[in-house]
């Protein structure tokens, strides 16, 4: 099975809108899923400038799925669904 890829946006908009709390994912994900899931930080994912949607930031991408107003719980939920 291919690895699930989690990209946490560390761009300015996402960071200011609460993305700092998502840094925990760097510890939680490897602990919880081992090497089934890979987590990485990313520069601006470009989502905040589409229609100027800063208000839905912070963003996280789980493979192609965009998590808006992301929280640790929300992201884990999406990963769990992916892994079935």
């Amino acid at each position: 099975m291919a690895k699930v890829e989690v990209k946490v946006c560390l761009g300015t908009t996402c960071f200011v809108m609460g993305g700092n709390n998502l840094q925990e994912l760097n510890d939680i994900i490897p602990q919880k899923y081992g090497d089934k899931v890979e987590v990485m930080g990313s520069n601006c994912l470009g989502l905040c400038s589409i229609n100027w949607e800063y208000s839905k930031a912070p963003y996280v991408k789980v493979d192609d799925e965009v998590v808006t107003e992301a929280t640790v719980e929300k992201v884990l939920e999406v990963i769990d669904k992916k892994l079935g």
Binding site: L10, G11, T12, T13, F15, V16, M17, G18, N20, N21, Q23, N43, C44, C48, S49, W52, Y54, S55, E69, T71
Partner: protein, 482 residues
């Protein structure tokens, strides 16, 4: 403060800035509540969309720099926007309470729950020194008139049946300056308030707001005047990218130049080290730092007895602003701050024109779509020392004074990490007894737990913020000896 409320406050700031940058500030501001809660939208938090819009309007009033308490609901946000544009003076009462949010919060009291077993021993009645607990129909009842909220009965009950219902803002305030009154609304007593900002962070409804000066700052940027940002040392851990990229980003946002306040912190540390030596030679038993604005307010309003022991050295903000104004007397100097207390300090310093907190700077970046990590690094005219750059976390100031001394062994620092009822009592004891514990002769006082990285307007969590600051300071030169 709950994540949602912080998110909301920041979104409103971004919208205010966007409105200012648009070609119709008044109208765009008037529309903010409607843009955020458009017709037909599901209502996320409150009873109905009208209520939500009313609350967003109130929060916007604070963002425009006005007191929410004085709003009589007849004045539109457009009019507030116009008034913000026209004003030349800013309000020195830095906080404002969205009282409509206080409704959801019960008043501070001791309450006997259904868990009361009506036991025979009745330790609650004997524990109470004020005769406030009596037995009615076999169960304990508290007389609110007599109750002093000492919690003796809470601790005495073997069934944990008695609870203290707390009001988070009241509980968080170290000096009893915010109170929910008989009407159930919280209000701030400015004769007592030390501007620590604790209540802004503690309220789960995000009801306490800083009155923003962002419009005044944007006005200055738009004018012909030179506008200079002075960034506090703790900022190094608050944004993506490094402080050199941050400088470019701030210039891109419209400022003409950026000074590190660490530059002033170097002067503070050096002067304080000299002063320490003098005081010790004179026979003083201890000295406290003087760089924290919240602590300085505490001294003035609640702890005058400690004044003789407080260093006369000025704050890093003071020295930095002095440098800026010496070089550019006509410039507008804006202090970029982790906390509301620095607003209070700025009103006592003619060299500081405005204060912008980290959340507001973040909102400005968002509104202008500036990505710090895409900005080219820019140099500072003066590189600050490692110790000065560490001023923003607890222990950093004491360490810098120590490092500036020739005889590092002569100093025995101790640290007050956050002002609360206990630590204030401790300081009082030092002042009245004239000595501190364990041979300590230098007390570093930080109003916020963790230091400035724990300020009410910070963006990053303390742990990573500290790590990022250390990344920078570890590559910086050591402070010079006095």
């Amino acid at each position: 403060m709950a994540g949602q409320a912080i998110h909301l406050k920041k979104e409103i700031l971004v919208r205010i800035i966007k409105a200012f940058l648009s070609d119709n500030f008044e109208e765009q501001t008037r529309l903010i509540p409607f843009a955020m809660r458009p017709k037909g939208m599901e209502v996320p938090y409150r009873c109905c969309i009208y209520k939500e819009r009313a609350i967003i309007k109130d929060r916007t009033i604070a963002g425009l720099g006005f007191p929410i308490e004085e709003d009589d609901e007849t004045v539109s946000l457009g009019t507030y926007a116009k008034r913000a544009l026209e004003r030349t003076e800013i309000d020195d009462k830095n906080l404002t309470v969205l009282q409509a949010a206080c409704k959801g919060c019960a008043t501070n009291r001791i309450y006997v729950t259904d868990l009361c077993q009506g036991c025979v021993a009745r330790p609650c009645t004997t524990a109470c020194k004020f005769g406030a607990v009596s037995i009615v129909n076999g169960k304990s009842v508290i007389d609110d008139e007599k109750c002093k909220k000492c919690k003796m009965c809470v601790n005495a009950c073997p069934y944990n049946a008695i609870v203290k219902i707390t009001v988070p803002c009241e509980d968080s305030c170290p000096v009893g300056a915010i109170k929910k009154d008989e009407t159930g609304f919280a209000s701030i007593d400015y004769t007592k308030c030390i501007n620590c900002g604790r209540c802004t962070a503690a309220c789960p409804f995000g009801a306490v707001h800083e009155k923003s000066q962002i419009i005044d700052i944007l006005k200055a940027i738009k004018s012909e005047k030179k506008v200079i940002a002075m960034i506090a040392p703790s900022i190094a851990g608050q944004f993506p990218g490094n402080i050199y990229q941050l400088k470019s980003a701030i210039i891109k946002a419209g400022f003409d130049d950026v000074y590190e306040v660490a530059q002033g912190a170097d002067i503070t540390a050096t002067n304080e080290a000299k002063e320490f030596v003098e005081r010790m030679e004179k026979g003083d038993s201890f000295m406290t730092t003087s760089c924290c604005a919240g602590y300085n307010q505490l001294i003035k309003k609640h702890l005058p007895e400690i004044k003789p022991f407080v260093s006369d050295t000025k704050t890093p903000m003071y020295y930095t602003a002095e440098l800026v104004k010496k070089e550019f007397p006509e410039a507008v100097a804006v202090f970029v701050s982790p906390c509301v207390a620095k607003r209070a300090e700025s009103f006592e310093n003619k060299n500081v024109d405005y204060v912008m907190n980290y959340e507001e700077l973040g909102a400005l970046f968002i509104a202008k779509q500036i990505q710090i990590m895409d900005c080219e690094p820019a140099k500072y005219a003066v590189e600050s020392s490692k110790q000065a750059r560490n001023f923003g976390f607890t222990g950093g100031v004491a360490d810098s004074v120590k490092s500036a001394l020739n005889d590092e062994e002569s100093i025995k620092p101790c640290i007050i990490n956050g002002l609360n009822k206990d630590s204030i009592r401790q300081l009082k004891k030092y002042a009245t007894s004239g000595t501190c514990e364990d041979g300590c002769n230098m007390v570093e006082v930080m109003c916020c737990e963790g230091g400035c990285i724990g300020g009410n307007a910070t963006i990053n969590n303390q742990k990573t913020a500290k790590k990022l600051i250390e990344q920078l300071s570890n590559e910086s030169k050591d402070i010079e000896k006095i």
